[in-house]
Structure formats: structure tokens, C-alpha cells
Amino acid sequence: MTSPLIALIPLLPFAGFVVNATMGKRLPKSVSGGLASLVMLASFAVAATLVWQLAGLAPDGRLITQTIYRWMSSGEFTLDVTLLVDPLSAVMLLVITGIGSLIHIYSTAYMHDEVDSEFARYFSYLNLFAAFMLVLVLGSSLPVLFVGWEGVGLCSYLLIGFWFKKKSAADAGKKAFVVNRIGDYAFLLGMFALFAMFGTLEMRGIAAAVAAQPVEAGFGVLSIATLLLFVGATGKSAQIPLYTWLPDAMEGPTPVSALIHAATMVTAGVYMIGRNAVLFSHTPETLQIVAVVGAATALMAGTIGLVQNDIKRVLAYSTVSQLGLMFLAMGVGAYGAGIFHLYTHAFFKACLFLGSGAVIHALHGEQDIRNMGGLKKYLPITYWTFVIGSLALAGFPFLAGFFSKDELLFEAFAGGHQILWAVGALASLLTAIYMGRLVFLTFHGERRHDAPAAHGAGHGHGHGAHGGHPHDAPPAMALALIVLAIGSVAAGYVGIPAALGGHNALGAWLAPSFAPPVAEGAAVAGAEAAGAAEGAGEAEAHDEEHIALERTLMGVSSAIAIGGLLVAAFIWLQRREIAANMARSFAPIHRLLLNKYYVDELYDATIVQPVQAVSREALWRGVDVGVIDGAVNGVGAIVGASSGVLRRLQTGSVRAYAGSLFIGVVLMLGYYLWR
């Protein structure tokens, strides 16, 4: 069916952007912030109603579209701007608008120390981001998706560099932008390849076309195309090799990190793969690569996260690693599980970031966990929400993270990728440990920070004079934290696996999105749907030992989670020196981790420097000065010379000109009459 409502979802935030961007300077904070949050809530309401309508439809007919206008049409190729709501985008919609609204509300308090114009600028960016993100998830064709893709990249750049007066922030923004460019380039190439193959860019059309042909054996053209798309995804979703921008992105305001760099934008890559599930399913080679890259990223980021000292960077690396897990799921064809984890992760990671934001807020910009500790009694709300978030992230039984992560690992295992499963398990162990470390270092133990710290000033929100001890989150922030904490507990229950007597409602709900469009060839569709359903972990698809296996794996992973937490508790609560000893005894490794495997340095040496050298020497000194300027000057000289001659013709008398014109007319007319 079609519905005129869909366009509203991105348009509302866009309207907010327009207002705040144009007249924001003149609006008081309450108005600009309130408006921004309001449009987000409105768009959430619209999204909710649409999803409700969607749920009302028959399972395999769950598709609401709206064609806005014909974007391009050349020859037989036409491209409409069509927005599409199906189970997959429905989930994304709710996550983006829902969590987005919460983070908007949170920001009204968090950014309150900015001057009005800055405040409005911030919210205009935030709204713009939301609009583009919604376009991204709603777009039914790759180009439309790409528009959103680029748009969110832009907003990410703007928001990371929001405090652009601070060099590190500006650089981080540029880094994020450039790194993403690389990915986007690949993404474009992938699009071209797909267009060359299928002659359409409508994702459903591509899916249908692909479904008709057999799964590609070996590494063929199709695999190359999908691989290119995946490279784009690595750029957006911070996977190896393009993940380096995400940790630096933490220079941006914390709510931004929560919204863009944890909940929504970075998951775009996962979403994109899920959206083109059929396509990817046909290129096992690529899927293999996706899975491996995901696993590797998960592990690497986890290890790095273990030793970082900046509260937000720890969270950033954990995000990278969780994204790695999602890609792992995607790679093993467990699209449902991947999206499931995406969805739960959005909740608790947003919760964690906002919690860290509350901490930073309370400590006036202090971010180094070595200077924190003992905040438990000052920031109860922050503390408890943070703990819940961490537990959920660590996969503590019966919290959101548990279900999704377990689902995902189980799919990996059941899919026969034991090694990948092991890596994932290891990664989640690391997750448990560093989250434990983070919590204990931040909130427990004795207080290691000097009250109102001066670091704040640099960070754009240095509070005025405050009392001695930090104050807990103001209402707006507390609200967001609490809601998200509840989410982190409850979000998982939409996908209780068969093993626990549930029937994985989410998986079932998502299944149609990963199957080729029903319209084409019922037989193929049915088969694919069954396959996808298998992948998505439909209850029926499981037989007994599956359930048994899942139960055991569940036990293992929860054991891992609890164990990791216990280890962390033991080290950082009881015997903190252990950590120091280990650091000392494994000094090289520790240094390696601390310096993030020197990847940044590597890139700088291998890519950045050469490029700079070439552009400076060859392009600037050579091409620009030599060829281009030379050409321009040459033309100028020629014109000068020739006009010196032609000048004679210019008497300057208007009527002389008119006369020549007249003669011309007479001659031309004569000529035409003559022949």
C-alpha cells in the first residue's frame, strides 16, 4: 500500500532544521531546543502510526511506499524518489526517531551552557542529521539511500567539529569526513557496478533480479560489487580498515556521540547490508569477508578498549567492537540477529554515552577515568542507569544485550562458523571486562578528581562557579537516561529465542525484508523467504538439538559475561595493582594497545604523507601553476593581441554599429530569398 505520511517523517526534522538554521540566532534556547525536540517527537509519532499500519498488514505484504517525484529519467532509465517502510526500516525508524527524540531532549540540558546562536546551530545540525538518517533508512533505491548516507556523513562532520575553535575537534571532523569519503567512493563504484549489471537502482528490483539468478560461485563481478558496497559500509560503520575516525569523533558533544556514533549513523552500514540481504546472500565470498572483518574488528577494538583511559573513547571502541559483532552476524547470514543486536545496542550504548555525558557534565568536562571514581554517591541516577547499560552491553543474562548477542553468536555457531563464534565470544568477554573496568574506575573506589575542574573550559561547557561536589543529571538528562535504561532492560524481550520458550518475534517480523520481493516468482520468493527465515532464527526452523545447543551456548555466553564482570570487579575493586603489574609485565603489548596498534601512524605514513607530497609537488607546483595558470595567461595574452587589431573596427558611434547591423540584415535576407 502507499501512504502520504511517510514523507512527513524526514520532513518534520528538516523543517526544524530550516527554522533553527535561519532564525535560530534570534530564538531563545527554550524555543530552538524545544522546537527541535518537538519535531523529533512528532516524527516519532508519525513513524509509530505508520509502523502500526504496517503491522496491520499481512506478513509478506508488509510494505508501505510513497513516491515523491521522478528524480531522473534518461532513456529507459528512470529513478523515482520513493520512500519505503517495511519491517526492517520500521525498526530503524523507531530507533532513530525514538532514541533521537530522547537525545534531543537530553541535549537541551547538556548544551545549555552554549550561547543562543551556538545552541540553535547545534540543534539545527542535529535535526538535519535526523532528517538525512531517516531518508537513508526510508530510501527505496540506492541513490536515495546514498543521499541520506552522504547527508549523515556531512552532519557527522559538522557535529564532530561543532567546537571548531578547538583544533583537535576540527581535525577529528575532517578526519571523519575524509575517511568516510574513501568508503563512499567505493560505495558509489558498487552502485555503478550494480546498475551496470541490473540496469536498475531500486533495491527491491535488484533483489528480485538477483533472486532469479543462482548464487554466485567463486569471487565474481557480483561479489566485487557487494564487496565495494561493504567497503562503503566499513567507512560509515567504522570497521577495519576505516574505523580510525570513530574514536576521534568523540571530540564532538557527547549526545552527538550517543546519537550518531553509537545509535544510528554508524549502524547505517549494517542496515545497508540488511537492506540488500538478498543480494549479499548471493555472494558468499563477500559474506565471508564481511564476517571475518567484523570478527577481527570486534576483537581488535575490544582489546584497545581494555586500556583506554578516556571514558568516551572506551565507549567508542566498544561501539566499534559491537558493530564488528553485527557485521559478523551479517556475514554469517544472520541478518535478523544483526539487526536485533543493532536495535538493542542502540538503547544501551546511547544510555551509556548519555551516562558518560552526565559524568562529564558533572565534572565540567573531565573525561579521564583515572581522575574519576567514587562518583556513585554523587550521581545516583547516572550511576544506576550506567550500570544497567553496562550490564546490558556486557550481555548480562536477561538484559537486552544478552538476547541479541546470544542470538547472534548462536547463529554464527549454528551456521558452522565455530572460529568466528570463538572470536565473538572472546570479544564479548573483553566487552564484559572493559565495561566492568569503566564502571568501577568511574563510580567506585575513592574519589580521585579535584572538584570543579578547570578542564571544562576547553571543552566548551565550563560551568560557572559550582558547589564542591558534582551534581547529578538535571531532569531533562535524567529522563533520557532512565527511559534508555528501561529500554536496555526491556528491549531484548521482543526477540526471546525459542530456547527460552519465546518465538523470536523480531526475527519473524524482520524475515520478509530479507526475502526477495514477493511479487516476483512465488517459488523463488518462497524458497528465499524460508532461507532468510532460517537465517533470522524462526522458531519453526529449530529442531530439538538446535534448542539444546542454543541453551548451552547461552549458558556459555552468560558465563562469559558474568565471569568477565567478576574479573573486572576483582581487579579494579580489590587488587587494583594487578592491572598496573600486568601493564608493566606486558609493557610492549600494553603500549601497543594504548597506541591503538599504531594504525593511525601507519595510515599517516603510508597514505597521508605520500598524498600530500604528490599534491604539493606534482599537482600544485606542476599542474596548477604550470598548465592551468599558463593556459589562462596564454588565453589572456592572445585576446589582448587580437583585440589590439580588432580595436580598429570599434568606432564607438552607435549608429555606425546599427548601420553595420542593418547591412547584415539586408545581406542575410537577400541570401535567403536568393536561394
Partner: protein, 177 residues
């Protein structure tokens, strides 16, 4: 029949007025006579079943452009200045030039006449082929204007904008910003 009478009266009026326009020394009268000629042309358009064009003619030409001319004439009521020394001795005043001009004019008129003889179906009435209703309908006009000629339309709008800016820039004194 009335239509032909109308035609001859109006076209005669138009031609006479135009001739007087360039026969005048006083620009004021030229402008007014030109308005008359435009009005006559508008009448001709109506005879040609083009009421909308006729009205546009009145509104845009007679109503706006001519007022602009009038405005300028009034703003700078310039002195008559032929007979000034430099003017009489102007190179373009030499008889040779004048002769060439006359020759050219004659040639042009001849050519125009010649061209007329080449028009096919010259003596078939204008309205013979199509009914006035279609040609006269503003709806049809708008349709074609905004579909087939959409690009030209946009282009002209741009032209107008440029002209506007140019006029402002030119007409303002160097002093005021």
C-alpha cells in the same frame, strides 16, 4: 464586413501613429503616439482572436513600459540639440553615408516585398485554418507556455532579473550606495 473595416482602421491608425512617432521632435509626443499605435496593435490582436496578448500588450507595453519612458522623458526633459556645431560636422552626416543609407533602405523595402511574394497561401484568410476558440483560449496558452516553453520561460525570468539589477546599478548615482 465589420471585421475588415476594423482591421483597416486599426492598422491605418497603427501605421500613422508610428510614422508620427519618428516624425516628432518632442519625445513626449512620440511616447504618447507610440501608446496610440500600441493600442491599435492590441485591437489588431483582438481581431486575431488573441485577447490575452492584446491585454498583455496594453498592460505591459502601454501600461508599464511606456509609463517608464514617460517617466524618463519627464525626468530629464532634454533640450533639442541637432544644429549643434559638432553634430553638423559629424562624420556620419556626410552625404555619402546618407546615400548608402538610402540605398540600403530601398533594398530592404524591395526585399521585404519580395519576401511577401514567397509566402505560401498568401491570400487565404488568417482564420481559415483554425477556429478562434482554440487559439484564443487562455487555458491552452498557459498549458503550452508552461510545458513546451518552460525552459524559455525560466530563461526570460532570469533575463528580467539581470535587467533589473543592471538597471538599478546603472541608474543610481555614484554617491549613494
Amino acid at each position: 464586413m465589420p471585421e475588415s473595416v476594423l482591421f483597416y482602421v486599426l492598422s491605418g491608425l497603427a501605421v500613422a501613429a508610428s510614422a508620427l512617432v519618428i516624425g516628432q521632435r518632442n519625445p513626449m509626443y512620440s511616447v504618447l503616439l507610440l501608446i496610440v499605435s500600441f493600442a491599435a496593435l492590441a485591437g489588431l490582436y483582438i481581431v486575431l482572436d488573441a485577447p490575452f496578448v492584446a491585454m498583455a500588450q496594453m498592460i505591459i507595453y502601454a501600461g508599464a513600459i511606456m509609463v517608464l519612458f514617460l517617466f524618463v522623458v519627464m525626468l530629464l526633459n532634454a533640450p533639442q540639440e541637432d544644429g549643434a556645431e559638432w553634430d553638423r560636422t559629424h562624420p556620419l552626416r556626410r552625404p555619402g553615408v546618407a546615400r548608402i543609407g538610402i540605398l540600403l533602405a530601398v533594398v530592404l523595402v524591395a526585399e521585404l516585398g519580395w519576401a511577401l511574394t514567397k509566402v505560401v497561401a498568401l491570400d487565404t484568410p488568417v482564420g481559415a485554418r483554425a477556429d478562434g476558440a482554440l487559439v484564443g483560449s487562455v487555458r491552452e496558452l498557459g498549458k503550452v507556455l508552461f510545458t513546451d516553453y518552460a525552459f524559455a520561460f525560466e530563461a526570460t525570468s532570469l533575463l528580467i532579473l539581470v535587467a533589473m539589477v543592471g538597471a538599478v546599478v546603472l541608474a543610481r548615482k555614484d554617491g549613494d550606495a
